[in-house]
């Protein structure tokens, strides 16, 4: 006999067992021997997805819609197919940023926006409320059904019962107490609730075994296996049609699959167990197929139980949602019915506890704290330990969430089927999917886009699903659904803008996703992301690439003192915990925080992430900003740090520069090569000319010597003449060779120069003396015009004399033969020493004035028939003059003939004497 009190006792004992498991789990975690660090417990904790909806609701759905209950489990399977690059990436991001809720995830991705976090929290709370109502309803009904054992009677509608005597209300309070005990015993920076996870995993086993027990009892106890069951069912056309009818429509399956695909990651409780409570990223590898397998196993008996129930209660007086309980009851299986109740209780409590904890974290971190910080963070900052405040906010939030759920159940959800209520929640949380998944793969998505998309999607969800459900419960006139608001047909919530032919859910999903994705994409394309948004976008999108760089990636440019940071942390997570994590951090980096006064950007960033675990990313940023003196980096720096394009541009700039340099070098090399070729050609020319020049005197010496040798009886006068020629040619040869040697030395830079300050006057005198015999031997008049004062020059005396001698002997050679006249001018020209040697010969044609200074080049004047010099004199003179820093050239003499002139820079020692001399001259 099952009395109310014994059921209660069993329930309480079960809940106490859960709590014991949770307590043990926490103890083990504190001792460092985690109970949950394996993929199997992880999988079972993800199975919190299966709630009363699965346990009771699926059977109810199957009883009216055949296989319609199934897509809700196929969707998660398909999502888990993509675990490798979807789930793992989410987990990776969350671990790196210490993200503890879906609100935190979205807010963090879009520049740690408090507004976005608050929006997500609001949607989540409103969206999950029906879901929690569903659990309360399931527990309350199942209790009220079981309490009448062995009679199968449907309980009265609870709105007829006073609130305080309503089972659902008591269940809500009881669950709130449990959620508070499980989830808010202390504030932990990592938000891991190991004990809770262990309890949830245990509950997943209980509900699976309970459900399988009922299924096996129905299939093999009441009937003779599947074949018998289905064959019996097929005899009744109404039941048989459920699973074998070509008239069934499957048009809404894609909607349900997509919805549940989104739900498995967007539901706050799924996010909590799959992502936040994950202790090892690699566990997901096994969970990826174990979790779908769990879903498959728990669903095998849904249809058999539904059929068994329909066969058992053919008159429809029993709510199909209670078949799991009522079928064993009808067969007086007391223990099995109680087990089924406990299974349903596990399914409900698991969901409510995790959802309440997840929502309370979101409400606290993303809704209440930002508001408190904004309103009066100074007052808040003055308070000492804030972890107590945080805990109170969370506990209050849990109670609030459950009371909201109860209110929805009592005032709205009483009449609806479990699955219908649940799907409203799914549609609400599916609104997170675009901002969440888009944010992980699209860097260009911005805060504005996310806000726009979420708001539009949420508004359309409210309009096409929530408001109609209010209308159906009588809170709004039913005309709202039938005729549209204010009778505007176009705005009917189940046929918006005349869209009909879809089921209500597909219709709502169609419109809300158009609004959501459209707003998200358009908003993102129309706005420019800020600095933090860009950083976060890059961190979220490129997470696998940057996994190593997380510790150092930060946008805090400034610094804070270690003491400030320590105090800040201590206020939120307690001083003991603060010391522990900071010491761990210091040990990991080989720092001594005791001695360190200023915290670097990496430590500030570390503290920010740590704090984000406790109070959410947006609030954490505000708090850290209050103690860190530096500001956030500017947009240009962000671009520089993160924008890969800028790196590419930089790189290509470097390449361009390199290529320009290469081009330049090539040009230089080509010029050098040309020059070398030219020099090579000149050298060849030089050698051939030299050989030619040497051969001329040699030939004449040889021929005259042969004549002398062959004709011993030569006339003495003739012999004398020949000998003179030989001697003269030999001298010329010697001179030629000397000059070639000089030139070669000068060109090679190996000449010994004896540079001294000399008086040009004496050099000119010596030169005249040296050429005296040459001049005397011809009938040439030599004139000398010298300034009374000539500046000293810095030069090699012998070489300078060689130049003058060269020029004089040249002039003598080329001047008029009859009335030869050579003038030597010496003076100053433009602050330089000027010496000119003029003759009255044929002159040098303008075209030859450059080349006569080249080697072996003589002016091929009309009167010149044979070379009269070595052809090296002028080349040597130019070398010498240019070595002294002067210039040599030829021009026309005043009346006729050529004027060879050169200038030399004056010596620096003149500077003192000259003005004195000038003043003397002036006198």
């Amino acid at each position: 006999m099952l009395a109310g009190w014994s059921i209660l006792l069993f329930s309480l004992a079960y809940l106490c067992l859960l709590f014991a498991i949770a307590y043990y789990g926490d103890k083990r975690a504190d001792a460092g021997r985690s109970l949950i660090a394996n993929p199997y417990i992880y999988t079972l904790s993800i199975a919190v997805y299966c709630t009363s909806w699965t346990f009771y609701g699926s059977v109810g759905r199957a009883a009216s819609g055949g296989m319609d209950f199934l897509p809700i489990y196929l969707g998660p399977t398909l999502t888990f197919v993509l675990w490798g690059f979807l789930l793992r990436k989410i987990i990776h991001i969350c671990k790196a940023h210490r993200i503890t809720s879906i609100a935190d995830f979205i807010s963090s991705r879009y520049g740690k926006s408090a507004l976005l976090g608050g929006l997500v929290t609001m949607i989540a709370v409103l969206g999950i409320t029906p879901y929690i109502a569903l659990q309360l309803k399931a527990v309350s009904i199942s209790f009220n059904v079981l309490v009448n054992y062995p009679e199968v009677v449907m309980p009265p509608i609870s709105s007829q019962v006073p609130v305080l005597r309503d089972t659902a209300f008591l269940v809500a309070l009881l669950m709130a107490t449990f959620a508070i005990l499980f989830g808010t015993r202390h504030i932990d920076a990592s938000e891991h609730h190991e004990g809770m996870v262990a309890a949830i995993a245990f509950e997943s086993i209980v509900k699976l075994v309970a459900f399988l027990a009922i299924g096996i009892y129905v299939t093999f106890g009441l009937y003779d296996g599947f074949g018998d069951l289905f064959a019996t069912a097929a005899l009744t056309p109404r039941i048989g049609n459920l699973f074998t009818s070509s008239e069934n429509s499957y048009g809404h399956w894609p909607t349900l699959i997509l919805l549940s695909m989104a739900a498995i990651i967007c539901l706050p409780r799924q996010f909590q167990v799959t992502v936040v409570e994950n202790v090892n990223e690699d566990h997901i590898r096994k969970a990826a197929w174990l979790f779908p397998l769990y879903l498959l196993i728990i669903n095998i008996f849904v249809l058999p139980i539904a059929i068994g129930g329909l066969l058992q209660f053919p008159d429809g007086g029993v709510d199909a949602d209670t078949f799991v309980l009522t079928v064993p009851m009808a067969h007086r299986m007391e223990g099995l019915a109680l087990f089924a109740f406990i299974g349903g209780l596990s399914a409900a409590t698991g969901m409510v506890i995790v959802a309440a904890i997840a929502l309370s974290t979101m409400i606290c971190n993303d809704l209440v704290m930002p508001v408190l910080l904004r309103l009066n963070w100074r007052g808040l900052a003055e308070r000492g330990d804030l972890s107590g405040l945080l805990l109170s906010i969370r506990r209050g939030s849990i109670v609030l969430v459950l009371l909201l759920g109860y209110a929805y159940f009592r005032f709205i959800g009483e009449s609806a089927a479990l699955v219908t209520i649940g799907l409203i929640s799914f549609a609400a949380v599916a609104q997170f999917a675009p901002a969440m998944i888009g944010g992980m793969y699209w860097k260009g998505a911005t805060r504005l886009g996310a806000i726009l998309g979420l708001s539009l999607g949420f508004a359309l969800w409210v309009y096409t699903l929530l408001l109609p459900s209010l209308a159906q419960s009588g809170w709004l006139p039913i005309g709202f659904i039938e005729n549209g608001p204010f009778g505007i047909e176009l705005l009917r919530p189940y046929a918006l803008f005349g869209l009909s032919g879809l089921d209500n859910l597909s219709h709502a999903m169609f419109w809300s996703m158009i609004g959501n994705i459209g707003g998200y994409v358009l908003g993102s394309l129309m706005s420019r992301p800020g600095a933090i948004e860009r950083i976060q976008a890059a961190l979220f999108v490129d997470v696998p690439k940057r996994s190593g760089a997380f510790g150092s990636s930060s946008f805090w440019r400034g610094s804070a003192t270690v003491a400030d940071l320590r105090a800040l942390l201590a206020r939120f997570i307690g001083s003991h915990e603060t010391d522990r994590v900071l010491n761990e951090y210091a040990r990991g980096r080989g720092l001594n925080l005791g001695r360190l006064r200023e915290a670097d950007a990496a430590l500030v960033s570390f503290v920010e992430r740590l704090l984000a675990g406790a109070i959410g990313a947006a609030s954490s940023r505000v708090m850290v900003a209050s103690v860190a003196k530096g500001e956030v980096v500017g947009i240009e720096e962000v671009m520089k740090i993160l924008d890969e394009t800028s790196q590419v541009i930089e790189y290509s700039h470097q390449l361009e520069q390199k290529s320009r340099e290469l081009e330049l070098t090539t040009q230089e090399l080509r010029a050098a090569n040309d020059r070398l070729k030219e020099l090579d050609r000149l050298k060849d020319d030089f050698i051939s000319t030299v050989s030619h020049e040497l051969r001329t005197p040699l030939t004449s010496i040889r021929s005259f010597s042969e004549i002398l040798s062959d004709n011993p009886d030569l006339d003495p006068a003739e012999r004398e003449r020949f000998l003179t020629i030989v001697v003269k040619e030999t001298e010329r040869l010697t001179r030629l060779i000397n000059e070639i040697l000089d030139l070669a030395k000068m060109e090679a830079g190996r000449m010994d120069w004896q540079m001294i300050d000399i008086d040009p006057r004496s050099v000119i005198d010596d030169a005249l003396a040296a050429t005296g015999s040459l001049v005397a031997s011809s009938s040439i008049v030599l004139k000398l015009e010298m300034d009374p004062w000539l500046p000293q020059v810095h030069a090699d005396r012998d070489r300078l004399m060689q130049v003058i001698v060269n020029l004089i002997s040249n002039a003598v050679k080329f001047c008029d033969h009859e009335r030869g006249e050579v003038s030597i001018l010496a003076g100053q020209l433009g602050g330089r020493l000027y010496i000119g040697v003029l003759d009255n010969g044929p002159g040098v044609p303008a075209g030859d004035r450059q080349i006569i200074f080249e080697k072996f080049q003589e002016s091929r004047g009309p009167l010149v028939d044979k070379p009269r010099g070595t052809g090296l004199g002028l080349a040597i003179s130019r070398q010498i003059v240019e070595y002294f820093g002067g210039r040599i050239w030829v021009e026309d003499a005043p009346d006729r003939g050529a004027a060879f002139c050169f200038t030399l820079p004056v010596s620096r020692t003149n500077a003192a004497d000259r003005p004195a001399l000038q003043s003397q001259e002036a006198l």
Binding site: L78, G225, F230
Partner: protein, 83 residues
């Protein structure tokens, strides 16, 4: 051979297969009034396809897993170096 890209490609192929397998036209075909091994065709088909997808996930996940022997020599080398 089993590079990360391969794993991703296989995952996407499995995903598309799953989405196709549960698409309304195929469901309508298998929703015929027929029994196989005493089970309704649709019931059998859905669970078989589902089971197949789960097996494929398990197979892909197993192939993509880092084989411990690959890591061990590297670790040992690192240790030796440290010594």
């Amino acid at each position: 051979m089993n590079s990360p890209n391969r794993t991703v490609e296989r995952s996407i192929a499995t995903f598309l297969f799953g989405f196709l397998a549960f698409s309304p036209p195929l469901l309508a075909i298998f929703g015929a009034e027929a029994f196989v091994l005493g089970l309704p065709l649709l019931y059998l088909y859905l669970f078989a396809a589902w089971g197949l997808i789960i097996a494929m996930i398990a197979w892909i996940a197993d192939l993509g897993a880092e084989k411990p022997p690959d890591l061990e020599p590297a670790r040992r080398a690192k240790r030796n170096k440290a010594d």
